[in-house]
């Protein structure tokens, strides 16, 4: 996997009521997104990994355009440099 300067980020994604499955499906179609759904709640964890700033901006725009997100809370952002 290619390393890059953009932080790997993790978010808590709160779907609109009843829309968790749709939101998960949409997120998984966006390059650089991994999704971890809660087993017992309508809640998703989103982990993003983009190689460049332009890719990161594109991702942000795609996330903003998703119709089933109620709230997206940033939890962590880690760069290789910081973790070294």
């Amino acid at each position: 996997m290619q390393t890059g300067p953009v932080p790997i980020k993790s978010y808590i994604a709160w779907p609109l009521p009843g829309k968790a499955a749709e939101l998960q499906s949409q997120l998984l179609q966006i390059p650089g997104c991994q999704v971890l759904p809660a087993e017992n709640r309508e809640l998703l964890l989103l982990i993003t990994d983009t190689p460049t700033e332009p890719a990161e901006k594109l991702l942000a725009a795609q996330l903003e355009a998703l119709p089933h997100i109620q709230c997206l809370s940033l939890v962590a952002g880690i760069t290789e440099e910081e973790a070294a």
Binding site: M1, K9, L36, A38, L45
Partner: protein, 770 residues
């Protein structure tokens, strides 16, 4: 797994932790990547940080720790971790890790070969002992010492050198818990275990912000509430925290008045006859001790309690002073809330766990408040059965295992007190030293040890795995003391700290999984881990540093352990101290195989509830309980009054100051501040104010605030309603930030029985800094 993948896992872990705290009971399937990572070797270890003792699995690749996951086989955390645990391996790899020894030459610390540094440490020890006597030298360790570290320190200083100048920083965090157990039960450490959580109906948290300090146990408790509707969590505290927000009821009391509240609950239990009469008749005796016992503010303060037996009628009469309406005026807690608490404890159908940690321990009447909470459980018979448990939580990963069980306190030996001839004889026999080597009197507890350095009574101190130049109260006196001429300070650590800054010799330590070791957690569980990666440079385990110095001092026969097997040899030697059904420890081989074992461990069986004959091999069968720690074979109910703290807000210093931790950082932050995600999440200390106080001073979030006590002054950014909320007239400051040393302001008053300082109460004034 490459480094990028590891970071993805860590970011995911941080999100899981945050979600778990935000949404009680939420669960996630293991990430698909977790078990599909090729090329990693997974090995078990207890977490490096708090006293919960979570089991971790560490992923190793090419002599480097690259991944962490919770150990699903661990009975403690069942696969869950908190944010510190998930990031724990990053603490190994900070850029400024100490890799070589440092020796102060011409006023500056300069790198030196470790053998030269160890030679110097040994020669300085010998020189000071020859010139000033054996009590001129001391060692100050930690509840983060591994069990073999603490054992070797005790054996070297108490057995070989012959001084009781051995202390651990657990004196600052757990000493009141110890004296609470000893005065009530005659034996240290909890009778219950974490399984109490899954059996309780009510949780009363006494000054215990579990959501931030013990997040995994907090999650377990909230999971219990979700699984068992009707389960109640009551937060009884001096400040509104994340714990309060998740609790079913939040009750705020004024600092120090927990003593009066506990007595008022006992008063109500008796008034309503919510007592377990049979239990009281068979298993309890009543006692009282000295009152107006002082605060230890003066050097060489001495106190000895004088217990006397009283009867139930005398105890009941003494409680007449604690009617709820009267206590309401003192504590600020409405009488109806006190009756509500008494009703929960007194309901025979409800199983009740009381949890506490530093709120009750760091208290000038720390021993007393422990006694008073035990009283409530003893009056109702709610003790030592599943779900009925007064439970003192531990702050550090081996405060129990190393400081309390090994006995790295001035008054203790690995078995018993130094004042007890039988305990000295046992130590002399196992250590192979003349019994006359072991001094029969305690010498210096921690505060007095640093006072002795300031006075010049003590000339040499070796500090391992702790950072007292951040953590000592009334810090300036003790920092100035250590910097005086003719003091020799040795510090073993993994990173530069304010304590290494003032050292004459710095020894680089191997950290956690860079060496083999054992920790003992809050529920009497001993956990072993093996060495998984090499330490950097010349870094060496604290155990082996002690062995090397002992050999250089001529004590080689006592420390003839082999490098490849020394931890096994030390463990098997140490566990001889605990032979018998009351404290039998598992063998080294058993500890290696299992993710932790609770003592007493007899015939292959752990003991989950002590003093309960159904579970405890040391308890006599034939009754529901057997409290075998005291000579009268009973648990002791103590009458202990409310007494005020030594310093309270007044005209000049009108605010209470409370100090503590935050979820992101471990203690003084020397490890967690080097983990980028944790450092970024909480980069600096702050002062929390009530919004009304902030408005009164025209202080907004982020404004610089000057706090001043009679001992010092400090500037901090304001934080209003972002994390916790103190009541009006109170402020809170965390202590993790070495650039903002809140202990410049705190007071070195301590509990006269436990000698543990009170970091939760002193008086300050608040000003907006211009």
């Amino acid at each position: 797994m490459n480094r990028r993948e590891m970071l993805i896992r860590m970011a995911g872990a941080a999100a899981i932790t945050a979600a778990t705290e935000l949404v009680p009971g939420v669960s996630f399937a293991a990430p698909a990547t977790t078990d599909s990572i090729n090329g990693l070797t997974w090995k078990k270890a207890p977490c490096r940080f708090c006293g919960t003792g979570c089991g971790l699995l560490i992923g190793i690749s090419n002599n480097r720790a690259v991944a962490v996951k919770g150990d699903p086989a661990s009975a403690v955390n069942k696969g869950l971790c908190c944010v510190k645990g998930y990031h724990s391996v990053l603490a190994l790899y900070g850029a400024d890790r100490l890799k070589t020894a440092l020796i102060r030459k011409n006023g500056k610390l300069v790198p030196a070969p470790i053998n030269e540094a160890l030679d110097l440490v040994a020669s300085k020890l010998k020189e000071n002992i020859a010139q000033h006597g054996k009590d001129s030298v001391a060692i100050y360790g930690s509840g983060q010492w591994t069990i073999p570290d603490g054992y070797c320190a005790s054996k070297l200083f108490k057995g070989a050198i012959g001084t009781n100048n051995v202390e651990g920083n657990a004196r600052l965090c757990m000493a009141s818990a110890v004296t609470g157990f000893m005065t009530t039960f005659g034996l240290d450490e909890p009778m219950g275990c974490y399984e109490d959580i899954e059996n309780a109906d009510v949780f009363i948290l006494w000054g215990n912000n579990m959501a931030e300090m013990h997040p995994v146990l907090f999650s377990r408790m909230l999971e219990r509430r979700q699984q068992s509707p009707g389960t109640l969590v009551v937060d009884l505290a001096t400040r509104t925290t994340r714990t309060s927000m998740a609790a079913d009821r939040s009750i705020l009391f004024l600092p120090q008045t927990d003593l009066a509240i506990a007595n008022a609950i006992a008063y109500e239990l008796i008034r309503n006859n919510w007592l377990h009469s049979t239990f009281l008749q068979r298993h309890v005796s009543f006692h009282a001790g000295k009152t107006n016992i002082g605060y230890g503010l003066e050097d060489k303060f001495a106190f000895t309690d004088e217990p006397r037996t009283i009867d139930f009628a005398a105890y009941k009469k003494a409680l007449e002073d604690y009617k709820p309406e009267k206590v309401e005026k003192l504590s600020g807690v409405p009488a109806r809330e006190i009756r509500y608490l008494a009703g929960l404890y007194g309901d025979p159908k409800k199983r009740v766990v009381s949890f506490w940690c530093m709120g009750m321990n760091q208290h000038t009447r720390g021993t007393w408040i422990q006694n008073l909470v035990y009283n409530i459980h003893l009056l109702t018979g709610k003790i030592a059965t599943p779900g009925n448990s007064p439970f003192s939580l531990t702050g550090q990963p081996s405060a129990c295992g190393t400081v309390r069980e090994v006995g790295t306190l001035t008054n203790r030996l690995p078995h018993g007190e130094v004042t007890d001839p039988h305990s000295r004889e046992m130590a002399a026999k196992i250590w192979g030293v003349p019994v006359s080597n072991i001094a029969p009197k305690p010498t210096l507890h921690t505060v007095e040890m640093f006072r002795a350095l300031d006075r010049g009574d003590l000339k040499f101190i070796w500090i391992q795995v702790t950072n007292p130049m951040v953590t000592m109260p009334k810090l300036k006196r003790y920092r100035d003391g250590l910097k005086k001429e003719n003091r020799f300070v040795v510090v073993s650590d993994v990173y530069p700290t304010p304590t290494t800054d003032i050292a004459d010799v710095v020894l680089p330590s191997a950290m956690w999984i860079e060496r083999e070791g054992m920790f003992g957690n809050s529920e009497r569980r001993t956990q072993h881990w093996e060495k998984m990666v090499d330490p950097p440079g010349e870094a060496m385990s604290d155990t082996w540093q002690l062995i090397e110095v002992a050999r250089r001092m001529g004590h080689g026969k006592l420390f003839a352990y082999k490098p490849e097997t020394h931890i096994k040899e030390i463990w098997e030697e140490y566990r001889q101290f605990h032979h018998g059904p009351a404290h039998e420890m598992a063998s080294y081989d058993e500890l290696r195989q299992r993710p932790g074992i609770m003592w007493p461990f007899v015939n292959g069986k752990e003991t989950r509830w002590r003093y309960n004959p159904k579970h405890d091999p040391a308890a006599k069968p034939g009754d529901t309980h057997h409290f075998y720690g005291k000579p009268d074979q009973k648990a002791w109910i103590w009458f202990r009054p409310y007494e005020p703290p030594p310093e309270m807000p007044d005209k000049d210093y009108p605010f209470w100051l409370n100090t503590g931790r935050v979820v992101e950082h471990w203690h003084t932050g020397s490890m967690t501040r080097r983990i980028p995600v944790l450092h970024q999440a909480m980069p600096n200390a702050y002062v929390e104010l009530h919004p009304n106080d902030a408005k009164r001073f025209n202080i907004k979030n982020g404004d610089s605030v000057r706090l001043t006590s009679r001992r010092g002054t400090i500037l901090l950014p304001a934080l209003i309603d972002r994390r916790g909320r103190p009541p009006e007239g109170q402020v809170f400051v965390p202590f993790f930030d070495e650039s903002k040393l809140i202990n410049e302001l705190t007071l070195d008053a301590f509990c006269p029985i436990s000698k543990q300082p009170d970091y939760k109460k002193c008086a300050v004034k608040v000003e907006k800094a211009l």
